[in-house]
Amino acid sequence: MIFLNQIVQGVLLGGYYALIACSLSFLFGVMRIVNLAHGSLAVLAAFMLFVLADRAGLSPWLGLIFAVPAMALVGWLLQVAVLERSLRSGLLVPLLSTFGLAIVLDNLLFEQFGADTRSLSPYIGDLSFDSWSLTDDITVGRLDVLMLCVAVALLGGLNLFLARTRLGRAIRATAEDPEVVGLIGINAHRVYAVATAVAMALAAVAGAFLAMRTTFDPYSGGAQLIFAFETVVIGGFGSLWGTLAGGVVLGVAQNLGAFISPHLFLIAGHVVFLAALVARVWLSGRNLRWLRVRAA
């Protein structure tokens, strides 16, 4: 029964990972931009919500009404000021520029807010600790369930947006060939800016749940980035539902690792991530060989 509980809690943890990986998966998988500042930007949104709650007494839910558009604007500026210039110089330059941005953001937040850890959990009432008992042995936190539901809703919504809407089609087409979209009347610069704005709006939601679930400080971004990245890689490049699966696999692996020995929580997650990475590289190598045979 304890074993089953570990799996259930792992799935719920996976919901959280999928939630924080949503934005990264969209930007990395769909637009092919590696955003190393993702964790720091989520923490920036968390601080926005904290200030709104602490100074203005606004609940984090209402705070999101301001934080989501504010972060979308940040995304737009990020694209125009940083990513667009660096994308022109190849795939590796955005990696460096977003890494630099992460350092700048972390330290600006540190200068402004100091090293204190903070949390949004005092501002969400019972939700931070309330739970439902499924059986005598299995209890699920309401916030955890909510996060899993939000992750499913966001990923599903993103999928629908990309598949069904005019803008979604423009985003997919631009990701495939930014030059050719110009020839069918799509302004690729604008599409990139909109996509980054969408990704940052998602990062705001990620930051909100990060801050409600646990504590954060100006340097929390890095750890969040690692889990989000592992989730995207396990789930598969460019697949949004894969991101949900990736989060669940990572969460369950970590919890089962911890079940064997508490030290294994992080290691089990990293091992699964590495195994998925190696398997993917190996499989894509095989696919490439197959393609070469077909081309010949």
Binding site: R166, R169, A170, R172, A173, E176, D177, E179, V180, V181, G182, L183, I184, G185, I186, N187, A188
Partner: protein
């Protein structure tokens, strides 16, 4: 009425000057074939007209307006569409999504998904297949259909027969015939000289980035173009 005029256009790829002082004019409803050896500047010239390549000097005027400084997507809105060399489809998207991606982005007009299907009947059963999984001929039809979805006034076709089997080339041209005969304004790059002379009203031959021959297709013999193509003196018009 002149719809497109190119004046003293220069274009480079780094140090290489691909187009040197090219001037040409195109009347509405005319079909112009660009011929020339590999590297003669045909593709670069088309890309400059479409706005995908920035000209270093010269002017492109379309429907009376100077469009030289406009980016490609703004030229599409005015009615210039390029079917790029190598088709360049969005390989991971379905045929329908490839076509829909272009819908409503160019001029207002009557090209719809249904009309593209009627023009290229070979696409109808493939509507929901991934574009990358189609045969070369079908992919070319999608690429042309995608350009048509923007309701162009001027269609630029770059080597539509590249890499296709003779049967597939015939099928593509069969579908294009209604378009070419129906008063569309087209510039096409075609390696098959006999076919170029057959479908075009006028032929322009480029050699090392310069126009070395221009003449009405019906008055042009294969020998005249061949001479210009290889840079022999008597080919110059």
């Amino acid at each position: 009425m002149t719809i497109l005029s190119v004046e003293a256009l220069d274009a480079r790829h780094g140090l290489l000057q691909a187009v040197r002082g090219v001037s040409l004019a195109l009347a509405e409803g005319e079909t112009l074939a660009l011929v020339g050896a590999n590297g003669a500047g045909k593709t670069t010239l088309l890309r400059c007209i479409a706005g995908a390549h920035r000209a270093t000097a010269g002017r492109v005027t379309f429907a009376g307006d100077d469009v030289t400084a406009l980016p490609a997507h703004r030229r599409v809105q005015r009615g210039i569409a390029l079917v790029p060399e190598g088709r360049r489809l969005f390989a991971g998207m379905t045929v329908a999504d490839n076509l829909r991606a272009a819908a409503g982005r160019g001029r207002a007009g009557n090209w719809t998904l249904e009309r593209v299907m009627a023009t290229f009947p070979q696409l109808a059963p493939k509507l929901h297949a991934r574009a990358g999984d189609l045969s070369g001929g079908q992919q070319q039809a999608v690429a042309i259909g995608r350009a048509l979805m923007t309701n162009p006034r001027l269609l630029l076709l770059d080597e539509v027969s590249l890499g296709l089997s003779p049967v597939a080339v015939d099928a593509v041209y069969e579908s294009l015939r209604a378009l070419l005969g129906g008063g569309a304004t087209v510039v096409l790059v075609e390696q098959d000289l006999a076919r170029a002379l057959r479908v075009a009203d006028r032929v322009v031959c480029l050699l090392e980035g310069r126009v070395v021959y221009t003449g009405a297709a019906r008055d042009t013999t294969r020998e005249q173009v061949m001479a210009a193509y290889f840079g022999l003196r008597e080919g110059r018009a």
